[in-house]
Subunit: 414 residues, 2 copies
């Protein structure tokens, strides 16, 4: 794809420009974009109307349609999001370490932009603004490839962004949109190793899987959350109830909500009736193993498949386990290595759970719903990594940087 | 491939065991392996003989044959290497940060093993020992897939390693060898996402390219070094001569040797005759642009291809550039982002070079030959990453770990 190669080359060139910008200059650019988005809100909303008309023809409804829809308030929110990002500390330039070697060489490691970032996402125009802001803040050029359903909105948004860039003397190719939304353009992006340093898929499980399996560009996998709460033998039952209800029902459609509950057999008789009554009252369907269905009459028998499932819905699978060990083994076998919590008053159990559960975020006595860049205090988030390379857990600005070694010598040779 | 899936499952299980081992226990295991390698050197050397006989039949010679060959001294060296690794600090368990959030949650980030590491390499039996030691030290299980030319040596070595593991109660599947050395087994490893957390190719450019292009498992790309020295207008000519000679000739076959020399036009008349005379005396072939061939009669005209080439040989391409800016642009265009050095007495030039050259290691007034885990003080090295995700530059033990968030609460919900 010639178009994409050309965009890649332009992006690489602009990335050198961005890499030389000071923090103040980058802040000013992001603020200018926010300003212009508000000023040109009408043009964006009318482009969005075209997308919405198409969506209607194609019978797109529900949350998909909701995410595609822009209005004045949503444009203001996008601009406000940018203003927040503009104010964050710039991670670029941080000297992480600097040591003098015996031969007098000073070897330092400094934080630098990654270069060119590709983002493949679905029909959410707000991701266009959001991703552009985070990439510019960290001195990275970005190539955006959104879903075809949002193409008119995206074209209008990127036009405004590029206008803002030009007005401050920044190459407009720092933020580019792939206007060809065919499957081929996505595949071509996954093979654009020469110009793309990393590729971040943002969206549903299908999209992420496709990118992970087909990309030769390094990918940051964000992801699915088959999260668990384990109520230990010594758990404070009130606290356990509060945490399980919160982790399951406060926002069931997100990745850090729990999908399964494990209960230590010694507290099953006391805890299960309490929690299930509360869950039932909140319209949560309960699927349980035999121990659960024996105690809870209205529980549906759980299948092997249930333990693997991320429902993203008001459904909870419950299993009674004879020991902490079994709980840890269950989580490490069925979980998606996202967020896991134990509710316990035992020091030994808390330490073992923290150390032996293999996940991006492991909690003691708190809801898994806190796995989030804002909740962790990063001030921004581009996703939650469930892979182990580069970034694991919520990714903020720092995760959009890499490092380089800088070495000060005075004539050293080997 | 059933064999590989089974190995993957076993490796995953052993990785949980390894993750629970203390630093002292891991140290003892590596020392036991070193001990047993020496004790069983004969069995390893006689297995190696079989590989050497095959190699002779297949007409394998030169450095390939040399790297394949084991003898008593080399086995002792491998054991000594392990002993060194055993003594290094264990990076696992380091708490990188720990902060209290306004809601009382304590959010910490701790260094943990990656899990299961796959290594695909060529006919170098020493990599088998080396990789096993580094992975065990960092609590990772490893699946090794070496070149078919070394299969008998590798089988013998891994047998000894597993014997040592068993003798200390560690699951022998912590270190496994893929005995099927067909192309299919390599391809299957590249798709083993369920069981492999990362894949590290170690070897020539062809091997690395194949793995990068075909692997859906995250890869750490190690690599090619098309490195440059730039002699600035204000360079100390003696220092420049010393550094260029060292970077080109001290060990021309390695990735951190330079392949191209850029000379500022204002010193070309003085510097080129000096350096070329010295290089000629060391049998270095010189390929130059027109400015160079005009001054140096015996220089061969360089082609566009030359600027892209990693010779790994006594050949140096030389170009005269009119400015620091042109030097930086040349390096960012043709270089492989490995190691780059400027020789200068100018503060401004040094700062611009450090900041604008896009490479894993950027030097002022020193030879590029220092880009190495040992020279940087890491005490070990599993390769030099030229990619930007996870690790960039020399990779030591720390780069074989990942992190997880650990969160201490007392009932927090959202």
């Amino acid at each position: 794809m010639e178009e994409l190669k050309n965009k890649g080359l332009q992006a690489r060139r602009s990335s050198w420009f961005l890499g030389r910008m000071s923090s103040d200059e980058k802040k000013a650019v992001i603020e200018r974009i926010a300003e212009l988005l508000v000023k040109k809100a009408d043009s964006i909303i009318s482009a969005n109307m075209k997308d919405l008309e198409e969506a209607e023809k194609n019978d797109i409804r529900g949350s998909l349609l909701d995410r595609l829809t822009l209005n004045t308030q949503r444009v203001l929110d996008m601009a406000e999001g940018l203003t927040q990002v503009a104010l964050l500390d710039d991670p670029v330039g941080e000297v992480i370490s600097m040591k003098k070697r015996p031969n007098g060489l000073q070897v330092g490691q400094i934080r630098v932009p990654i270069g060119v970032i590709g983002i493949i996402y679905e029909a959410r125009p707000n991701v266009t603004v959001d991703a552009a802001g985070l990439c510019l803040k960290t001195g990275n050029a970005v190539i955006l490839r959104g879903g075809k359903e949002a193409i008119n909105s995206n074209i209008a948004i990127v036009k405004v962004i590029q206008e803002a860039l030009i007005s401050l003397g920044v190459p407009p190719e720092a933020v580019q949109l792939v206007e060809n939304t065919s499957r081929e353009s996505a595949v071509a992006m996954m093979k654009l190793n020469e110009y793309l340093d990393i590729l971040i898929p943002r969206g549903g499980q299908g999209l992420i899987k496709t990118v992970v399996e087909n990309s030769s560009v390094p990918v940051i996998e964000t992801g699915t959350g088959n999260c668990h709460a384990f109520v230990d033998a010594s758990a404070n039952i009130d606290m356990a109830t509060k945490i399980v209800i919160n982790a399951k029902t406060q926002r069931p459609g997100v990745c850090n909500a729990i999908e399964s509950l494990l209960v230590h057999s010694s507290v099953a008789d006391i805890f299960l009736p309490v929690i299930c009554e509360r869950l039932k009252g909140l319209n949560v369907e309960i699927r349980g193993d035999r121990n659960v269905t024996e105690i809870i009459g209205y529980a549906v028998p759980a299948t092997e498949e249930d333990w693997y499932t991320e429902y993203l819905d008001l459904i909870l699978a419950i299993r009674v386990v004879p020991s902490l060990n079994d709980a840890i083994n269950h989580i490490n076998k069925y979980g998606s290595k996202h967020s896991e919590t134990i509710i316990t008053e035992s020091y030994a159990s808390s330490q073992r759970f923290l150390s032996e559960v293999d996940a991006a975020a492991v909690y003691v006595n708190a809801s898994t719903r806190f796995t989030d860049g804002y909740e962790f205090g990063f001030g921004a988030e581009i996703g939650i990594s469930t892979q182990k390379l580069h970034a694991r857990g919520p990714m903020g600005l720092r995760e959009l940087t890499t490092t380089k070694y800088i070495i000060y010598g005075n004539g050293q040779i080997r």
